[in-house]
Symmetry: C2
Subunit: 349 residues, 2 copies
């Protein structure tokens, strides 16, 4: 495999190489890469802006994440924030800082993932920056989106009685990570062993190649369904529910039996001796949309194949309750990933 | 001096601490920090977007840059890119990755500079991200600006015969860096020596606290002066002139005697045994605006106190000429900082 050093190309050469063949698909993009700034024509719409950073050793480990997937994921997770405002993503800027450990070919892999995600979501890569770093790889993406006049949805608009709804299913990305970590441990103790990932493609894809739910945003617009509040599920369902409650000054009741979990995620959690509900509540990185709708909109969501009504908002902000499958009321908790592992080790001791 | 560890606050706590008291000044900012994304109402204008990264050990050295200045500079240099499109900056997002070497108090210093710059330029801090890094400090800023319908100016619109104009004066930031580096060398060999920076405040400020020329953009709008092409001077005048030439498919003639240089910058260059013209052409980090205007606009620029006409564009893209003070025609060269130091050492050998 060829290895071209970054310094052989220089900064301008590297940018050209990584961005050549960039296609502009958005009518709103008047100017993209190649000037001091990009120019966007929102055509009367409002502009939504979000930024996220992914740092090696903190947000990803290149031992299990292929660079192309990392590029794809860095775009998708940012677009998910745009979706969480009820907006349609339109442009991204991508900035990378890299140490000389990385070859030009490695960065091309990363950008192959960036370009792929741009094509899938129809967004334009319109700018960015490249820099050397003293160690590791860091990717910062800023995503822009467009939304009609009053259609933007904040976290703070929920009302008591509103239904709590989530798209897709949850816990898969977390279980995908568990599978990757198990194989890594096996690999360390027996480097010749073949990784046993077969049968887990679905949850591995949830972890390595998450998707932003632009489809859900579009379908809600078609249904003339405007959520009263919305957030995306990046840190775990419980934690995101708490954000909606805090921003809206409300409490919540969540029903365990309504939580959407894919059968394979469920089985894998069992295989790992983890509580599937805990994986759903605290797993994170699902990038599904969590939102509230007025009760009047129940008919629009009740049988929607991509949506699950999982609870409702209540007046008292002190009440954050999970109603378990056997009818018990327990406090809803946001544990984070460490919490899951710990609860598991306690259970299995 | 108190030292609070970042981990004691956690990510959300840190963001709250760094962004509390953030003031929104722009009518175009509908939602700022605190949701999944910011929401901006461009009110019929076009949106200009630019991103820049500043990495420790690459773009700055904390041995001579106070953190507050770094915060200020990280905003100003991004706003300069917005100005280079003939737009007025309106919002920024700031993302930082930091190692545990930095205390919360140190980051507050950095953000004091960010907030200061936002206040000076009337732009709103509307988002960002914070992350830990395995080493060093990295700051990524995305700046947004607004511009009326057809007013955006690219690098590519110059015509043969257009006048080449630059704002302010050049070379000061480079000479400021030379002074800082000299004192650093002195400090290394005699740590008790007091740094001798007195009398150099002007050029030190050009280096440590550069300003974006929003004032020039506004004054050009008042004069109904629309440049035909524009760029900001970040890498050095010659290099930026080449960018305008390349994007517009033209050549250029630049007159040495017209290059704006502050008397103090001139004297300091002489003191350092450097050619002042070379400092102007290749120094960089001046963040002045370099642009072309039609000859018909000569009256608007000729006596403007902030503008200097330094040359004109020519048809033949092969011609990039510097006409020296004694009337000689020599090829204009972009040497970069290393080039200056080298040319100096050659001269003085």
């Amino acid at each position: 495999m060829q290895r071209t050093e970054i310094e052989d190309l220089g900064e301008f050469g590297l940018i050209r190489r990584l961005t050549e063949g960039t296609v502009l698909r958005q009518p709103s993009t008047l100017m993209g890469i190649g000037d001091d700034a990009a120019v966007i024509n929102p055509e009367g719409k409002r502009v939504v802006v979000s930024t996220d950073m992914l740092c090696e050793g903190v947000h990803f480990d290149l031992a299990y994440v292929p660079l192309k997937h990392l590029g794809y994921k860095s775009i998708a997770v940012n677009l998910s924030d745009i979706c969480a405002m009820n907006a349609i993503p339109s442009q991204v800027t991508v900035s990378i800082a890299v140490s000389s450990r990385f070859s030009v070919e490695a960065l091309e892999e990363l950008y192959a993932g960036v370009h792929k995600a741009c094509a899938v979501y129809g967004v334009d890569l319109v700018g960015g920056d490249t820099s050397s770093s003293t160690s590791g790889l860091m990717v910062t993406v800023t995503a822009l989106g467009l939304v009609d006049g009053e259609a933007a949805v904040a976290r703070s608009g929920a009302k008591a009685g509103d239904l709590l709804v989530v798209s897709g299913d949850l816990g898969g990305a977390y279980m995908g990570l568990q599978v990757l970590e198990r194989e890594r441990v096996v690999f360390k103790s027996a480097p010749m062993a073949q990784p046993d990932l077969s049968g887990h493609e679905g949850i591995l894809e949830r972890q390595l190649k998450p998707e932003a739910r632009t489809d859900v945003v579009r379908e809600m617009a078609d249904l003339k369904l405007k959520p009263t509040s919305m957030i995306d599920v990046s840190d775990g369902l419980a934690s995101e529910v708490f954000h909606l409650c805090a921003a809206s000054g409300l409490g919540v009741k969540v029903f365990e039996e309504k939580l959407p979990i894919d059968p394979h995620t469920y089985e894998t959690a069992r295989e790992f001796n983890l509580d599937p509900t805990l994986c759903v509540l605290s797993g994170g990185e699902d990038y599904e949309l969590l939102f509230t709708v007025a009760q009047d909109d129940y008919e629009k969501v009740r049988n929607h194949p991509k949506l699950s009504v999982i609870g409702h908002m209540v007046d008292d902000p002190e009440i954050k309750t999970l109603i378990t499958k056997n009818g018990l009321e327990t406090p809803l908790k946001a544990q984070g990933w460490d919490g899951i592992a710990q609860s598991n080790s306690e259970e299995t001791v």
